[in-house]
Subunit: 210 residues, 4 copies
C-alpha cells in the first residue's frame, strides 16, 4: 500500500532538484553585489578603468564564494551519489544544508565589506562550519538508517567522514589565523578552496585533504 | 490520437520542476532581507559584532520561514508522490499553491518588521491558511477525478486530509494567541513548525499532528 | 555518427528545464514589487492595516500576472507535449518566448504603477501579443519541419493554431477597450485570463476560447 | 565498489540541472535593470510614452545579452550532447563557465551604462573571451580523458574546436573596432550574435562561422 513520504527514489530526485536550484541562485546572487559604477562619477576612459579596478575586492570574494559553493556542491553530490533513497528526516537535513548555502551570499558580502575585521572572518568560518556539520549529520543519518546504496563499503563510508573532518580542520586553522591578521585567514582559506576545487592530488596533498 | 494537455505523467513532471524552482527561489529570497551592516556605521570589532547581533530577529524569522517552506515542500511532495498524473485544473491548483509560496517572503518580512503588531501575525497566518487550503483543494480534486495512484487506499486518503486540518487547527490556535500578545503567537507557531519539520513522532505528538 | 545539436529528445528536455526555471523566477519576481510598508510610517495596528490594504492594486496586478504566466505555461506545455524533438531553431524560438516571459514582470509593474494610462495597457498588450506570436511561430516551425510527434493529427494541429488566435483576438478587444478607459481594458483582460486559467468550459465559452 | 564522485552519467545530469538554472536566472536578471519610470516624473500619456521610449538602449543591450546567453547555452549543450559522462574536474570547468555566465548581467549593465566608452566594450569582450576559453578547455579535457561518447569521430571533435575559435576571432575583430568607435564594436558584435543565434547558414556564412 502506498504511503505518503516513505523513503523513495523519487524523494531523492526532488532533493537533487531543489539543491541544484538553490546552488544556481546562490551562484548568481553573489554576483549581484558587484555593482556597475555610477555614471555621474565617471567622465573619461581612465576614470571608468579605475572604477572597474576598484571592484577588485568584490571579484576576489566572488571567486572565494564561487570556490566554496563548488566544493559544497561536490560534497553534497558525493554523498547523494552513494545514497539510494531518502526519507523525510534526511531531506530535512539536506534542506538545513541548503539554508546555510543560501546564507553564503550574506557572509560573503560581510567579508567583502569588512575584510579587515575578525568578526567578518569568524562569521564566514561559522557558515563553513555549519555547512560541514549538516553534511556530516546527513551522512551519519543515512548510514545509520540503511539509506545508503548497497555497494558502499566500510572504507568509502570512512573516507566521506574523513574528508569532511579534514576540511573542517583546515578551515579552523584558517579562522585561527585571524588572531594574527584577518587577511592571513582569507588568504589561507582561499588557498584551501582552490586546492579542493581544482581537485589537486599530489601525494602530500592527498594525505592532507584525503 | 495525441491531444494537448490531457492528464499525463509528463504534466506531473513539469509541476515537480516548477515547484522545486519556486521553493529554491523562495528559500534564497528570504535571506536577501538579511542586510550587511553599513560600513560607515562600524569602526571597531565590537561595533561589527553588535551590528551582526542586531540582525538576530532577521535570523529568527528566516528560520521560521525556512521551517514553513520545509513543511509545505513536504506537504506538496507527500501529495504528489500519491498522484499518478495531472490534468490542467490540478496543475492550476498547484500553481495557486506556488503563488502563495511566492508570497511567503513578503509576509515573513512584514512579520520581521512588525513583530509587535497583530496585523502582521494575521497576514502571516492568512498566508499559511491559503497554502493549506490549496493543498486541501488539490487533494480533493485529484481524489474526485481519479488522478491518484491506484494503490492509494481509503486510509491514506483520510490521513492526508487529517494532516492538513490538524496543522490548520494548530496555526489557528497560534494566530488566536495574538489576542494575548503577538509574540506568543510567533513563539507558538515557531514551535509547531519545529515539531513538523523535525518530523518528531512521540506517541502524544502523533495523535496531535498525525 | 553523433553530430552536435542535431534534433533530439535531449534538446527537448533541456528546453523544458530552462522554461520551468524562467517561469519559476518570473512567478517569484512579480511578488518582489509588493513592498513591506516602512516602519517609520506606521505607529498603530490600524495604520498597519491601512498600509497593507493600500497594497491592494499590487495584489491585483500580481494576480493578473500570475494568471498570465499560468496561461502561457500551459500554452508552452500543450505544444511541447506534442513535439517529439527539438532542433536549434525551434529552441531559439522557445528562448525568444522565454525572453518575453522574463519581460512580463516589467510590463506588469508598469501597469500597476500607471493603471490610468493607455500607454501602460498597450505595453502590457504588446507583451501578450509577442508571447502569442512566438508560440505561433514555434508551432508553425515544428509542424513544417517534422518535429511533431507522429500521432498528432491535422485536427489537433488546427486546434493549437485556433487557440492562439482566439486568445489574441480577445486580448486585442481588451486592449481596444482602453479607447474608452484603461480600467475597462484591465478588467476585460483579467476576466479573459481567469476563464482561461480556470479552464472553464461551458458550451458557449468552448466556442469562444476553443 | 561504489566510489564518491567517479565519472558517471548522474554527474552529467547534475551539471545539466545547475546549468539550466544559472541560465534561467541570468536571462531574468538582465531584465531587472529595465526599470519602470518613476510615477512622479510622468503626468500625461505622452510623457509616459517618452519615458518608455527612453528605455530603448536598455532593451537593445537586453537583446544583445539574450542573444549571447542563447549562443553559449547552445555551445554548452552542443558539447554536453557529445559527452557521455563527467568527472569532478570537468564539472569544475563547467562551473567556471557558469561563473562567467553569472557575470554577464554585470558586463551587460556596464555596457548599457557606458555605451560610449572603450573600457566597457573591452570588459564585455573579456567576458565573451573567458566564456569561450572555458568551453574550449572543457572540450579539450573531455577529449583527453575519454569522457566523450563513443560515436564521436575526429571530424566532429575538430568542428567543435573550430566553432569556438571562429567565434572568438569574430568577437576579437568586434572588440578591435572600438579603436574606431565603441558603437562600431557593439553593432558588429550584435550582428555576429544575431547570425549565430538565428543559426543562419548561407554558403559564405557557413565558411565563416562553421
Amino acid at each position: 500500500m502506498k504511503q505518503p513520504l516513505e523513503p523513495s527514489a523519487e524523494g531523492r530526485g526532488r532533493i537533487v532538484g531543489i539543491t541544484d536550484g538553490v546552488f544556481a541562485i546562490a551562484l548568481t546572487l553573489i554576483v549581484l553585489e558587484i555593482r556597475v559604477p555610477s555614471h555621474e562619477a565617471v567622465h573619461s576612459e581612465s576614470e571608468l578603468l579605475a572604477a572597474v579596478m576598484a571592484l577588485a575586492p568584490r571579484f576576489l570574494t566572488y571567486a572565494l564564494s564561487f570556490l566554496t559553493l563548488t566544493i559544497f556542491w561536490f560534497g553534497q553530490q558525493a554523498q547523494h551519489g552513494l545514497i539510494a533513497k531518502s526519507d523525510r528526516r534526511l531531506a530535512t537535513l539536506n534542506l538545513c544544508f541548503l539554508a546555510f548555502i543560501a546564507l553564503l551570499p550574506f557572509s560573503t558580502d560581510l567579508l567583502a565589506d569588512f575584510l579587515e575585521f575578525r568578526v567578518a572572518v569568524l562569521v564566514y568560518w561559522l557558515n563553513l562550519f555549519l555547512l560541514g556539520a549538516t553534511l556530516f549529520a546527513s551522512w551519519w543519518y543515512a548510514d545509520r538508517n540503511g539509506l545508503l546504496a548497497q555497494n558502499v563499503d566500510a572504507d568509502t563510508k570512512r573516507v566521506v567522514y574523513q574528508r569532511i573532518i579534514k576540511a573542517q580542520i583546515l578551515w579552523a586553522i584558517g579562522a585561527a589565523l585571524c588572531l594574527i591578521t584577518p587577511l592571513a585567514s582569507i588568504a589561507f582559506i582561499l588557498l584551501v578552496q582552490l586546492i579542493y576545487a581544482a581537485a589537486l592530488r599530489g601525494s602530500l596533498l592527498s594525505k592532507i585533504i584525503g
